[in-house]
């Protein structure tokens, strides 16, 4: 695991300020509670279509998002609820889209796999494996061309490293020295197949970094501090015009791949072992270690729960999308006419 050298005499993680620490905790807690709620709503048949939760992977979304600046751009996958929420998109907007209501981010036109909130820098969630890596390059190219200082951050899974677009994007970003950060969330599985069964190297992203002239970076994706620190370094590199980074974050998803998946393919005890390393559990301990009172934590938890509860009620009360929007925004004139 690549770690930044620690200043002598300091505690581990002492480089993370207290305000940042509280923000990281709150963010992870929002993701956790909102996604657990999404799962409950699914059981009540109120979340439609498919959905892919990031339970257990919250530290990555929270850590990267908190290290981003407002103009930075996120490119997510179908497993994008967490990354979308972490950029500050209201819970109601996300749950509304999952419930396919008119108050959703895209008013039900996109669905859970395509969460987009341009005003928050969430430039779409992409459901075809690998497609968004080149797209993130393009956004970074624009920043480079214009001299804008924003960074494009592209999240994807371990399984995504075996598709052609991964390779094309990494080479492209490297040769053009684009300000893009590729974040592989290695949760050990594709849908139901272990990544190790179908990949020629142990670390599907990091062990390929050298193929693009990039350093090999593997971090503990369940430690929000480590994520935040690594993100910051990569963003600084990008903004300095030094080019892309490829970061492999080791993590684990607590739930199945999608709502249809009971995840029976996992060896016994694996989930339990990883729950010992639950990012939120780790982070609660970290807060305590840094002297934050239980009452403070409890207050944050209560606030988050209230926010998610309110969002839930708003979504339940929200109307369904109506026929007019079916035919809007196919083309830029607002409509769908392919003929005169």
């Amino acid at each position: 695991m690549a770690k930044k050298p620690r200043a002598a005499g300091k505690l581990p993680n002492d480089d993370i300020g207290q305000a940042t620490r509280l923000a990281l905790y709150r963010s992870q807690q929002v993701l956790r509670v909102a996604e657990q709620r999404a799962f409950d709503l699914f059981l009540q048949n109120l979340v439609k279509g498919t959905s892919h939760l990031s339970l257990g992977q919250e530290a990555i979304a929270a850590g990267f998002a908190l290290a981003m600046q407002p103009g930075d751009l996120s490119f997510c996958t179908y497993r994008g609820h967490a990354h979308t929420l972490a950029r500050g998109v209201p819970v109601e907007k996300v749950l509304g889209e999952l419930m396919q209501r008119d108050n959703g981010l895209m008013r039900g036109k996109g669905g859970s796999m395509h969460l987009t909130s341009a005003e928050h820098g969430v430039m779409g969630s992409y459901a075809i494996i690998g497609a968004h890596l080149p797209i993130a390059c393009g956004a970074a190219w624009r920043a480079q061309y214009r001299g804008d200082k924003d960074v494009s951050v592209c999240f994807f899974g371990d399984g995504t490293t075996n598709i052609g677009a991964f390779h094309e994007a990494l080479n492209f970003a490297a040769i053009w020295k684009l300000p893009v950060v590729f974040v592989c969330e290695n949760n050990l599985y594709m849908e139901y197949t272990p990544i190790g069964d179908v990949t020629a190297v142990e670390h599907p992203a990091a062990d390929r970094a050298s193929a693009y002239g990039l350093p090999r970076i593997i971090i503990d994706g369940n430690d929000a501090d480590a994520v935040f620190r690594t993100a910051g370094a990569a963003f600084a590199r990008a903004r300095a015009g030094e080019g892309p980074s490829l970061i492999e974050c080791m993590t684990y998803r607590h739930s199945g791949h999608s709502r249809a998946d009971p995840a029976k393919y996992r060896p016994e005890g694996e989930l339990e072992r990883w729950k010992e390393r639950d990012p939120i559990k780790i982070y609660r301990e970290r807060l305590t270690q840094f002297g934050i009172a239980d009452a403070t934590i409890a207050r944050i938890d209560a606030e988050v729960l209230a926010e998610v509860d309110a969002a839930t009620e708003a979504c339940k009360a929200a109307p369904m999308p109506t026929e007019e929007i079916l035919f809007t925004d196919v083309y830029a004139d607002g409509g769908w006419a392919w003929r005169n």
Partner: protein, 326 residues
């Protein structure tokens, strides 16, 4: 005779062919141990083992390329592309490699393989996981294109596809996986290129495919019961080879043509068929041929929205009735 789901028919069809011929191999993502994300291939891994039922990485180009190379050199691969929308990430094999190899080599090379893929809407998956893309295959010379609507046809046409010496793109419909139908015991092998008249009728010909078949049938019932209009419903079953004989024959009796297409309108299979009938059956037609399609838009995710865009029984009834009354 047994009642079987369309989903289980896929597994039974593959098993039938793998048991028959050791050259039949099967590859795709999560198809093995997990039994496929649609649970349409459950049990095959256990029955035929990891050498014949192979899980792959997420590498659709490698999947189709490998299937092609294996087919060229003697195997009869069945490759699964999980969602038909993903044919776009391996489209070079669909459009340029697999279908053209025999021709370019002047018959030296062959490509006997089947690409199975889950097609169509109804699962609220949104614009990139719900498309009906039969025309992506139909427009390419050198392919055969099949899309069954019943469990029995799944088995029979899959068997025919596997035994066919040409490459076949086999579209299974996601929204039919859970549907059931009677299937006889024993081996079933059907014939590609044969449409089926599911309901005879004298007033109009309705052509349909896959999920649109039950809707066309239901519409025909209502047209008959409520309006005394007797529509002939034809399940095309395969787009290439195309059973133009059955289509033109039907139109010569009914004098009116309707297509019910799940695809967005432009360049759908219905366009091709209308152009054939308008040319060769022009003088048989008593009125305009009408295409009932999904509008030419990306598919929305929300259930209420998705339900509005696909051709419905109501829309079919309406269009046929208004057109015949005009």
């Amino acid at each position: 005779m047994a009642e079987l789901t369309y989903r289980d028919a896929v597994a039974r069809g593959i098993a039938q062919e793998m048991a028959r011929d050791p050259d039949v191999v099967f590859l795709g993502e999560d198809i093995g141990k997990p039994g496929g994300v649609f649970k349409a291939t459950v049990g095959l891994y256990e029955q035929f083992g990891p050498l014949r039922v192979r899980d792959t990485p997420i590498s659709e180009q490698a999947i189709l390329g490998a299937a092609m190379g294996a087919a060229m050199t003697g195997l009869k691969p069945i490759a699964e592309i999980m969602f038909s929308d993903f044919l776009a990430v391996c489209f070079d094999y669909i459009a340029n490699e697999i279908p053209k190899t025999r021709y370019m080599s002047n018959g030296q090379l062959k490509c006997p393989l089947v690409v199975r893929t889950a097609n169509g809407a109804g699962s609220r998956f949104g614009a990139q996981h719900s498309q009906s893309v039969e025309n992506w295959a139909m427009m390419i010379p050198g392919l055969k294109v099949v899309a069954p609507s019943t469990p029995r046809d799944v088995i029979g046409l899959l068997a025919a596809a596997v035994r066919d010496p040409d490459p076949v793109i086999f579209f299974e419909h996601k929204s039919l996986y859970a549907t059931k139908g009677e299937v006889e015991d024993g081996e079933i092998v059907d014939t590609l290129g044969t449409a089926k008249i599911l309901r005879p009728g004298a007033h109009a010909t309705i052509l349909a495919l896959a999920l649109m078949v039950p809707r066309a049938l239901a519409a025909a019932e209502r047209l008959s019961a409520e309006f005394g209009i007797e529509a002939e419903v034809i399940d095309l079953r395969s787009l290439v080879p195309l059973d133009t004989r059955t289509i033109l024959g039907s139109v010569s009796r009914t004098h009116r043509l309707f297509t019910v297409e799940e695809n967005p309108r432009l360049c759908g299979w219905g366009a091709e068929i209308v152009s054939i009938v308008a040319d060769e059956g022009f003088y048989d037609l008593d009125g305009p041929p009408v295409r009932i399609t999904t509008p030419h838009i990306p598919l929305p995710a929300a259930d209420v929205l998705e339900d509005m865009v696909l051709p419905t029984v109501e829309r079919i009834v309406d269009r046929v009735r208004k057109s015949l009354e005009a």
